[in-house]
Symmetry: C2
Subunit: 327 residues, 2 copies
DNA sequence: TTGTAAGCGTTATCAT
DNA sequence: ATGATAACGCTTACAA
């Protein structure tokens, strides 16, 4: 491995001069600087990150922590994050799994953006207490070193529920996320709020887990409830994944039940797949890229010691054909 | 930041004893070890990655480099990689973009798995020359420090082409990837080989780029060619993404043309979306998880100085309903 | 303008 | 069984 020491030797100067030169310090003559740069290039010199960050106590790398790499959902978010970070002079790495948590306390990254239910809040707080900077995307967490960038879940859930009611539906179902999910809790609260202030509406809550299989199970249960779709029903799945599971189940087991006629379905997230369902899924849309970009921005501010308010990502109702008018 | 120095002071021992104790060396008494461990925990001690890897010259982290984070395609691959790496005591980070290339030469990672067309082969070779270990998933590269784990592109392309011919189709189209793509080149070669040894088959090659839009353009061009689908045609899209672009274009612009009847389509990759197309896309399938796992395994072997042969991922034809019999 | 030297937090060799 | 100490490659006062 070639180090600044080797360059110094070659150039006949001291290592500090080399260091200054490499970092473009004006303290070194243009002449020596360019000579040193030339030698560095000739020797194929590459700085050693470990040595540098041992000294500077920063790595210029931000970590994004996800539950898994299933991607479909995260692509745009990461793209948005990366763009912003690049522009601020930071690099981005994506991590998943308990093992990789160490990257933050061990200082391999300068900060973390977290969208990972399995990441403990207490764990995060203990990191924050030690001075590490975090942005959370999936929970509320109050700490000077933690910022939140959250979806406007309540607005989304209200939009969805009100739309179903507006369309004349009175037999509502809500398929939730896993019990620990902040997003799911928020959505359910909003749904109940809307239902409570509307008379004549019945709501059945079905516990799900944000996976396709939960959507299938929910569909089965609803079919049992509604006499095989004879009674019309309107379902708000708390994410698109489950809505699609529901589509699949119905297509496979009840081909006679038509979505948007006997059963009406709304999702949440507007994932890519949602635009390929037949009929097109009605869902809650928001800019995943902006979400990622905001998170990055907030994190950099935290790192720079700027004050930051929590951010909120606004959502809209995207009307597809999976919801029709109630009779 | 609390360091082993602090622990040493508290415990009234030297830093070397602390270091040994923390690393579970048998040189230190069980007594002192447990005392030191207790103090470390009490002080909330976390080792500093930079300092350690400055000394040990390793980070126990592997980087996977992708063209982008669009995920849909990479989820399983990364999952497979991560499982294998975890088992071998390594962590995984996912990187994308030119910026992040520095991680390898700067020794922030112990090795790299590369599936990124934009990563220069010459760049990789220069890294390999300096002793860095790489596994490439998207090109052939001969170097003692580089291993390849490649798809069996030829087999896949042959399966697809032969199937189309077998089904009685004679007017074939091939929609390729971008000109630089190794996978695309391999597939095209195999297609041509099959076509050349079969009489009465005409092949038209349409240049694509692995994106949906290329599939749309190709569809338009084929429609023009075949008098709006009046003449039957059979298309091998070199990936599913383009095949789906083709589905979209046809659904939007030629609803009267039925896939699997007037036009027959085969894809490559069997991405998740492929199972949602109507009709189900016929495609070339392979285990993405196994691909990732192999790559990880090979890389660890390289790092350990073991000898490694190149690996190959086998593929199969997955029959959907997007190809029917030719008349 | 350039050099000297201390120090970042570890590991590991050599003494004791 | 434990301690002193050098070293890893770099940054940065401070001195010259």
């Amino acid at each position: 491995m070639v180090s600044i020491k080797d360059i110094a030797k070659q150039a006949g100067v001291s290592i500090s001069t080399v260091s200054y030169a490499l970092n473009g310090s004006p303290k070194v003559t243009y002449e020596t600087t360019s000579r040193i740069l030339a030698i560095a290039k000739a020797l194929n010199y590459v700085p050693n990150a470990a040595a540098r960050s041992l000294k500077t106590r920063e790595t210029k790398i931000i970590g994004v922590f996800l539950t898994d790499f299933s991607g479909a959902f995260y692509g745009d978010l990461l793209q948005g994050t990366r763009e912003t970070l690049t522009q601020k002079g930071y690099d981005l790495i994506v991590c998943s799994g308990k093992q990789s948590h160490r990257m933050l306390p061990e200082r391999m990254i300068d900060g973390a953006i977290i969208l990972d239910q399995t990441f403990g809040s207490d764990e995060m707080i203990s990191y924050a207490d030690r001075g590490h900077k975090l942005v959370v995307l999936d929970r509320e967490l109050s700490h000077p070193n933690i910022n939140q960038v959250l979806l406007d879940n309540k607005a989304g859930a209200m939009l969805a529920t009100e739309y179903l009611i507006e369309q004349g539906h009175r037999t509502l179902y809500a398929v939730t996320g896993p019990s620990g999910s902040y997003d799911s809790k928020q959505r359910l609260q909003a749904v109940m709020q809307v239902v409570e202030r509307t008379s004549g509406v019945t709501l059945t809550v079905i516990e799900g887990d944000f996976n396709k299989s939960a959507g299938e199970r929910a569909a089965a249960s609803i079919m049992a409830d509604t006499n095989g779709g004879t009674v019309s029903s309107a379902v708000f799945c708390f994410n698109d994944e489950m809505a699609i599971g529901m589509f699949n189940y119905l297509a496979g087991n009840h081909p006679e039940v038509r979505i948007g006629e006997q059963i009406h379905i709304v999702g949440f997230d507007n994932i890519e797949l949602a635009s390929y369902t037949q009929p097109r899924l009605t869902t809650i849309d928001y800019s995943k890229r902006k979400w990622g970009a905001f998170a990055a921005e907030q994190l950099i501010k935290l790192i720079n010691g700027d004050t930051v308010d929590h951010e909120r990502i606004y959502v809209t109702l995207l009307k597809g054909n999976s919801v029709g008018a109630g009779k």
